[in-house]
Amino acid sequence: MSSYTAGFTLSASIAIIANLGLTIFKEKNAEALAYMKGLTGHHWITHGLAVVIVFFLLGAVLSSTEDVHEMSYKQLLAILVGSVLIGGLGLLGFFFFE
């Protein structure tokens, strides 16, 4: 497996969970929301940029990490699918019960 495949697939999974975490954090914290709004003019823009930057930066770092290279495709797939389910259903559940 290419180091980039492993690194960026894992990074995507982490970014997806970070997306959920950042959403819950900013919705529960008015100061954080205001700070994010202040950075770019709207909290959603800041949020999106943060997730994308985390994905690319973490992908670059993980691509050069030895342990990540040793992951199998099955492990990567399981983590990827799991993160999408947790991230997506977590967001829906948060706003449903919020």
């Binding site: 497996m1 290419s2 697939t9 970014a15 997806i16 823009i45 999106g48 797939l77 699918v81 997506g88």
Partner: protein, 155 residues
């Protein structure tokens, strides 16, 4: 002009879905002869998703507030409180997944590596399914605006 942004973002979202579907079709028929076309298709998905991000962002940041007010006063306030709030954050899942497709396509020998093909299939399917869920969410939001306007006309 503002309606162009509203209309453009689901169109480019669907084009992103089609690009991911194109990758799947090329994968199903993978050989050394179509790798170049598959890699082109893999670039188109994130390209269209980024345009979706920009056009939806312009609409959401500059023009959505009026629609939001109508939805919240109407019979379907959940169209904003649950659907829109979820949609605007789930989109980043779709976006990030679409970025990984070309990374795998350009760094793996997909014609010889079955596991890499499975990973690519999975990425494309996740993009397609999540993007279709976003399209459905957009329909519900539009209905929320419509019902809110009907209600205000009836009063």
């Amino acid at each position: 002009m503002k309606d162009l942004f509203l209309l453009a973002h689901p169109v480019f979202g669907v084009l992103g879905i089609f690009a991911s579907l194109w990758v799947i079709v090329e994968l199903l028929n993978i050989s050394p002869h179509n790798v170049r076309r598959l890699r082109l298709a893999s670039l188109l998905s994130p390209f269209f998703m980024v345009i979706t991000w920009i056009t939806s962002g312009i609409w959401y940041v500059r023009y959505y507030a009026a629609d939001k007010a109508v939805i919240l006063k109407g019979p379907w306030p959940f169209a904003h409180r649950i659907i829109m709030e979820t949609k605007e954050h789930v989109f980043f899942i779709t976006l990030v997944l679409s970025f990984v497709i070309p990374i795998v396509a350009y760094n793996e020998n997909l014609s010889k590596n079955k596991s890499a093909r499975m990973l690519t299939y999975t990425l494309c399917l996740l993009v397609i399914l999540s993007a279709m869920a976003l399209e459905a969410g957009g329909s519900l939001i539009a209905m929320g605006v419509k019902l809110g306007l009907f209600q205000s006309l009836a009063q």
